[in-house]
Amino acid sequence: MSEPILSIRDLRVAFPRRAAPSVTVVDGVAFDVMPGEIVGVVGESGSGKSMTARSVLRLLPRTAEVQGSIRFRGDEVLKMSPGRIREMRGALVSMVFQDPMTSFNPVLRIGDQIAEAIAIHDRTGRASLGERVARLLARVGIADPKARARAYPHEFSGGMRQRALTAMAVANGPALLIADEPTTALDVTVQDQILRLMRDLNEQSGTAILLITHNIAVVASLCRRLIVMYAGRVVEDGPTAEVLSAPQHPYTWSLLQSVPRIDRAIGRLTAIKGQPPDPATPPGGCKFHPRCPRAERRCAEEEPPLEQTSASHAVRCWLRMSETAEAAQ
């Protein structure tokens, strides 16, 4: 067993406000990613998952206050000099963002933008840039790559753009790829292609992937491990198969209840009642208790810690759902 490639401990991200206490959007998040592993982070919008992802490369808004520890291959990211961070970005750790429509600069050619990703980290070999770009585009399944590289973003379809973005992200062979909602803005068939692409990248190059999404179906097919976040905290962390088949946190269980399934008949879909808490005014005790179908008094008073229930599975709940009782539903 090797060392984790990414190790987050006690990460807190807060935004200061005028004449009011800061708003904490990430509150004590901790998890690891092993080399070559594909980890999924699932949660509703506002759960802090995007901010967590962006913290890894310190891509947070200027006003954000960050505390805690993020170690990449043992080095503390939050203490790195700006120069070292820039060296890391796009080379050792890459990020793919949600909206392919706006992720490319509209006035520059696709090929030039991908070449930029390479050239920033590799001053030599200017001549071969065109070749390398074409190869990257071919690798992500874009036909006629040499001609396509000269195109502008608005001439690409949404799916092609997301592929090109992925190509740009892996251009320098990163050890870790962070994908923030990579499929949300795409239609279903294209989603599938992109996910397949990511799996291929992982298998061929051993690139670890941290996949952020609010769509459970996406993680089910791709991720070996699943992390569930709610209100800025990790509430469940375990192998995907286990988490999906026998969720231990009521929130995870509720999420699964609200997903349509082909494999078995469900009486009715149940949406989780209520809204995620406003980060400015979080509820006391367990953050999920106002919406929890099984909340007890203890849940309102005291916040549960994240505890291992087995070697690979952790949960933040006072009443872990027993496998037998709820899984049957």
């Binding site: 060296e87 796009g90 990020m95 963002f97 600069n105 509209p106 930029e116 608005h154």
Partner: protein
């Protein structure tokens, strides 16, 4: 790349034709607007009867209006703007003689205004919301509210009259006659204050609009993506953000050129700069209407041409505009 530019230019040129026609039509309309006999207007004060008759037949004022218009149009398009009443020379050649001085001064002012305006705009966008930014915005507002000719006069009072650092006016030293490099230096020295005056207004407009466009651009996703690639702040600012904002900058320059030209008129008066603007002024108080209308048409054509150029530049800068 080259054929694309040519095609664009031709397309824009075609669009410019109706504008040119409109300008000529308007000028004709203005002449007709004037009270009294249009022939007398074009013939000036106290013309001899023969001259009056000559004007009348040359412009066709004795024929129906539409025929007059066609005559006028024909003359305008062929470069015959009539004859200056004062200098007795063809208006067109008088204009061409004075035009280079205006181009020199106005062109330089535009370059100076663009360079400084862009730098200021980008700098204040980068520090949006800071004290410096607020200060710059306030200064911009002042710069654009103060009439250009007064700024010129103030600059003369300060730098030429009291400090005696720079010449009071003119394009070259009156009594000396320099050649070669010395001449260039002399003209440059005389150009400092007029260019400074003329660039103020355009500078503030460019700074303000560039700032807004930059703030907008810096807010976009592709900036975040570029950061995630490891690009330096400088590269992001110029290669990514400004490249997008430049379309706005060029557009502003094109839109405001008319005002810049008007500003050039008064600046040339204040500094006795021997250009087209000065010609306007002379034509006004000498009641030299052929010269006035000719200079007006010429200036309008230049404005249209500059607008066209800025349109083409925008199309080249932003591939989404091309079709």
């Amino acid at each position: 790349m080259f054929p694309v530019i040519v095609k664009l230019l031709l397309r824009r040129a075609l669009l410019a034709v109706p504008l040119v026609l409109a300008v000529v039509t308007l000028t004709f309309f203005f002449i007709r607007l004037a009270p009294g006999d249009p022939a007398a207007i074009m013939a000036g004060d106290a013309p001899t009867p023969e001259f009056l008759a000559q004007i009348r037949s040359e412009y066709g004022f004795d024929r129906p209006v539409w025929a007059q218009f066609l005559t006028f149009l024909g003359k305008a398009v062929s470069g015959d703007f009539g004859t200056s009443l004062y200098t007795k020379q063809p208006v067109f050649s008088v204009i061409l003689e004075r035009f280079p001085a205006t181009v020199l001064m106005t062109g330089t002012a535009m370059i100076v205004a663009s360079l400084i305006g862009i730098l200021v705009g980008v700098a204040s966008a980068k520090r949006a919301g800071s004290r410096l930014d607020t200060l710059i915005s306030a200064a911009s507002l002042v710069g654009y509210s103060v009439p250009g000719f007064w700024v010129g006069q103030l600059l003369i009072l300060l730098f030429a009259v009291s400090l005696n650092w720079l010449p009071v006016g003119g394009m070259e030293a009156a009594r000396a006659s320099y050649h070669g490099w010395r001449h260039v230096q002399d003209v440059a020295w005389h150009m400092v204050l007029p260019v400074a005056t003329l660039s103020v207004f355009l500078l503030t407009m460019i700074a303000r609009f560039t700032r807004a466009a930059m703030i907008d651009a810096l807010d976009q996703d592709y900036v975040l993506v570029a950061e995630a690639k490891g690009a330096s702040r400088t590269r992001i600012l110029w290669h990514h953000a400004f490249r997008n904002a430049s379309v706005t900058t060029i557009t502003v320059i094109g839109l405001e050129f008319g005002a810049v030209l008007a500003g050039a008129v008064v600046v040339e008066i204040v500094f006795s700069w021997p250009g087209l603007g000065r010609l306007f002024y002379d034509a006004i108080y000498r009641r030299d209407f052929p010269l006035l209308t000719g200079a007006f048409m010429f200036s309008s054509f230049v404005v249209i041409a500059v607008n066209m150029a800025s349109d083409v530049a925008c199309t080249l800068l932003d591939p989404r505009i091309r079709r």
